[in-house]
């Protein structure tokens, strides 16, 4: 857009602090790409952002059907935000099914942009509409913009050698162009992306360019939009930023850990949603010495990782809940042989196959207790997409220093959601790592470091330290097979004490807000944003509410009980039926209350806010 054009429309530009847009369409309509492009553009522009991709597990469910609807919500703001927004300000619905499944979230007065061309009788039938929503008055509460997107887009692409179907596939960029115009975004990042992606296919590149620009020009020339909106850049802490999803940050964190520890990373994995993207990304880092291994199954993936760690590499594996079930016996082996290992669980809705693309945080008790016998493993859980980097490094710090398998709990919301990440300088990253044991005179396979209780890491190839390890119980110090009753008791106790002792080596639990008061909202994992936003609203209302968020789930930070006891009530919102709640009640005999929502979606801020108000009023929450 030229400067002149901006001036012409100047009187119609309104500044907003925050906008939430949801793109919704058929899973073949490219909604994820559209949302990602808007996100990148807004991130580079300097807004704070938070995203929520929401897509079906079916790659291409029947076109136009309700289960085939794919959505992408993003919130961008000139102030700090923690969530992708409870409800959209703008809904872009590319077909009737998308309208039907998403309209319920659009508040009255919200803007609704629909692709008029897709509202054919056939599509209305597929979506189960008995009357035409664009004409029956049911959309009256909304600010509706009916645009014949398919027709306009096809016109813009006239003359290109493409099939009608190919032309239709670019209509999402027409819609994106409209939104770029409406929110004063530059088209440049997306134009660059088109060049990178389709450079080798000039016709496709030209088609996408034309679609985007035509949409933008439509916004500029049409009379239907009376106002443009501008969301100024946010005042983020100084530094260099990039837009990042949780899975991307996780992969980078593991590469960083490998660099910091000076050992090659071995990543064994079996494809599973929503963890596979970590494998895809790491497989591109071969020049960092990263060895990726797509195993024949989940068990082979973890087995190979343990084998790699046995050899002195940083062996790790990743999966989601169903895969963790399969890995659990091998995880127990890693506990017994006390080798470093990181197991990533990108949680999704279960049980069993559940809802593979939907989020949940219900594997906490599984990773803590889902193995035979007492089988202690440290557990860390990042709270935001950007934090995934930090806790990937932290997981490896613990695994190496304490010679132990560690679970890293992410979830579908963190994995696919994005936010700006302040990129750290390599020099500012923590020091992690451990030396191999090489001295024959002081070597016993199960002798322990007096501080950490870690056993020595003696890798094959070290002369004079030939020894045998395995899943049978070990004699303390010598590591020989032992069935001695007292030895078994001692070893069980030692393994537990080693993991419990990590509490002395992790930061205290921080409280956001006053350190004592009426109510503490305690969370873990991806509920961070919704809890933080709700607590800030309540604090602004003058209520005595604080927020604490656990990143270490085993062991808990040393001051956890002290923090909890400084409040009259403790509310624990979780996307499960009360797992941290069970731990807190069982561990500390604190009468905490839970807020459980398992809908495959993140909490809304208002849900937590309402629950907190009720708890403060002494009401029971259902």
């Amino acid at each position: 857009m030229t400067t002149e054009a901006v001036r012409q429309t100047e009187d119609r530009v309104q500044e907003l602090e925050r906008v939430t847009i949801r793109f919704a369409g058929d899973s073949g309509d490219g909604m994820q790409l559209t949302g990602t492009q808007f996100t990148r553009t807004s991130a580079v522009f300097g807004n704070d952002i938070s995203t929520l991709p929401d897509y079906p597990a079916e790659i291409r469910a029947p076109a136009g059907s309700l289960p085939g609807v794919s959505g992408f919500q993003l919130s961008f703001s000139s102030s700090e935000i923690h969530t992708p927004g409870d409800e959209p300000d703008v809904l872009v619905a590319m077909n009737p099914a998308a309208l039907k499944t998403n309209l319920g979230d659009l508040p009255a007065g919200g803007a609704l942009i629909v692709n008029q061309d897709a509202f054919t009788q056939q599509n209305l039938n597929k979506a189960g509409y008995t009357s035409h929503p664009l004409t029956d008055g049911s959309l009256k509460p909304y600010n509706v913009f009916e645009i014949p997107i398919s027709t306009l887009n096809a016109r813009a692409l006239e003359g290109l050698e493409m099939t009608n179907k190919q032309v239709d596939l670019t209509k999402n960029f027409f819609a994106l162009g409209i939104m770029f115009w409406l929110y004063e975004r530059s088209m440049d990042p997306t134009l660059r992306w088109i060049e990178d992606k389709f450079g080798a296919k000039p016709v496709l590149a030209e088609a996408n360019r034309r679609a985007l620009k035509a949409g933008y020009a439509f916004g500029e020339t049409t009379e239907i939009f009376h106002t443009r909106y501008v969301v100024p850049p946010a005042h983020l802490a100084p530094g260099t930023y990039r837009n990042i999803t949780g899975n991307e940050a996780t992969a980078l964190g593991f590469v960083a850990a490998s660099h910091l520890a000076g050992r090659d990373l071995f990543y064994g994995s079996y494809p599973i949603t929503p963890a596979s993207d970590i494998l895809h990304q790491l497989s591109g880092y071969k020049n960092f010495g990263v060895r990726t291994f797509q195993a024949e199954d989940e068990i082979a993936a973890v087995g190979a990782a343990i084998g790699a760690s046995y050899g002195g590499a940083m062996g790790m594996t990743a999966s989601s809940g169903p895969g963790i079930c399969l890995k659990s016996e091998a995880m127990g082996l890693a506990v017994m042989v006390e080798l470093p290992l990181v197991v990533v669980d990108v949680q999704r809705a279960g049980p069993s196959t559940g809802m593979p693309t939907k989020t949940e945080q219900a594997d906490l008790l599984q990773v803590l207790f889902g193995r035979n016998s007492d089988s202690p493993m440290p557990v860390v859980a990042p709270a935001t997409p950007a934090e995934c980097f930090t806790y990937a490094v932290e997981a490896w710090r613990i695994a190496l220093k304490y010679m132990t398998p560690v679970v890293y709990l992410s979830d579908a919301f963190l994995a696919t959601g994005a936010e700006p990440w302040r990129v750290p300088e390599v020099a500012d990253l923590p020091t992690i790592g451990v030396e191999n044991h090489t001295d024959k005179a002081t070597f016993w396979p199960y002798a322990r470091d007096p501080d950490t209780l870690a056993r020595p890491w003696a890798v094959p190839g070290t002369p004079g330290l030939e020894h045998r390890i395995g899943g049978l119980e070990k004699a303390d110090v010598t590591g020989n097979v032992s069935y001695d009753p007292d030895n078994h008791h001692r070893m069980q106790t030692l393994r537990a004490a080693k993991v419990a002792g990590i509490a002395n080596d992790i930061p205290d639990l921080q409280v956001h807000g006053p350190s004592e008061g009426e109510l503490l909202v305690l969370g873990w994992g991806s509920t961070y944003g919704a809890i933080r936003s709700a607590v800030e609203r309540l604090q602004a209302d003058g209520r005595s509410v604080s927020h604490a968020h656990l990143r270490h789930l085993n062991p808990f930070p040393r001051n956890t009980e002290e923090v909890l006891r400084s409040f009259h009530r403790v509310l624990i919102p979780e996307i499960n039926l009360g797992q941290l709640l069970l731990l807190i009640r069982g561990r500390f005999l604190i009468d905490a209350v839970g807020l459980d929502k398992v809908r495959g979606k993140p909490f809304r801020i208002t849900e937590i806010e309402d629950a907190a108000i009720r708890v403060l009023a002494g009401e029971r929450i259902p």
């Binding site: 990039r242 590469v255 020049n287 060895r291 024949e296 084998g307 045998r468 390890i469």
Partner: protein, 349 residues
Amino acid sequence: MTDATATLPSPPTSTKLTRKDFVSDQEVRWCPGCGDYSILAQTQKVMPDFGYPKENIVFISGIGCSGRLPYYMNTYGFHTIHGRAPTLATGLKAARPDLMVWVITGDGDALSIGGNHVLHSMRRNVDIRMVMFNNRIYGLTKGQASPTSELGKRTKSTPAGTIDHPVMPLSFALAAEATMVARSVDTHTDHLQATLERAGRHKGSAFIEVLQNCNIFNDGAWRDFTDREVREDRTLVLRHGEPMIFGKDRDKGIRLSGMRPEVVQLGGDIKEEDLLVHDEQAEDPTLAYLLSRMWWPDFPVPVGVLRAVQRPTHDELLQGQIDDAVRRDGKGDLGELLFAGETWTANEA
């Protein structure tokens, strides 16, 4: 096809070790009379021949009586979980191509709970030597049917006889694209030693079936053709490039009749030239597969190397991709990686 018989990487050491160097201080705890003793002894005997320092040799096992072998080898050893030894070996070899890795397993460990991992470690040509002790029974759990138990076998878990058709281990290994497939017998000590020696010198995935006697739960499982008095008439000792002749008097042979092998009596019209000639290096696995199906009493049971071919190993290919990436993109720079992509800068507010 390259020569599969002389492929050992150049020995990293010249220090000559002896059998004793490979005996650990642990007391051996198999049942007296178990065939495992012989396999252990032959394994310890051949170890010095490979020229590897013993700290560069690793024995990895699963669960079962065979799983105890690593404790008795004075090398690095890892007694893992049921069926999964090949997975640990795969990861170890990927991380440490410099090590010589042996996998010790049994018929239940390898073909029942661990079947999938045998399949995939073999087809990937992971550079491991997998020695499968086959006694056609679950010994450590005290006598249940195994995947190699003969149809109708009565065991504690199959009092009316097993109804599960047995698997032929070597047919399976061949179908899984193992680059070396061989069979030997616990009591044929010279042959077993020679076979382990060959496995040790093979580069790539070697699958060695050792017919082993469990004198407690399945005594005499192989007796019909392995006993000293009958073995020459009832086994076929395979020799690369030689016609398939067997018998105490070396008067019987294997001839191809259409697509089927047949046993023929030499002399008269039938001469050595009419017999099948063993070719363990044949690109096409048909001959090896045909041998893997031959079984007593219809045929002598083949022992020795059925197949030994060369293919790039998993660790070579993996390392090759890493080397290519470093050549193409340079050694990875973490700072560049973190700051890659579209970045923007926020200044002091």
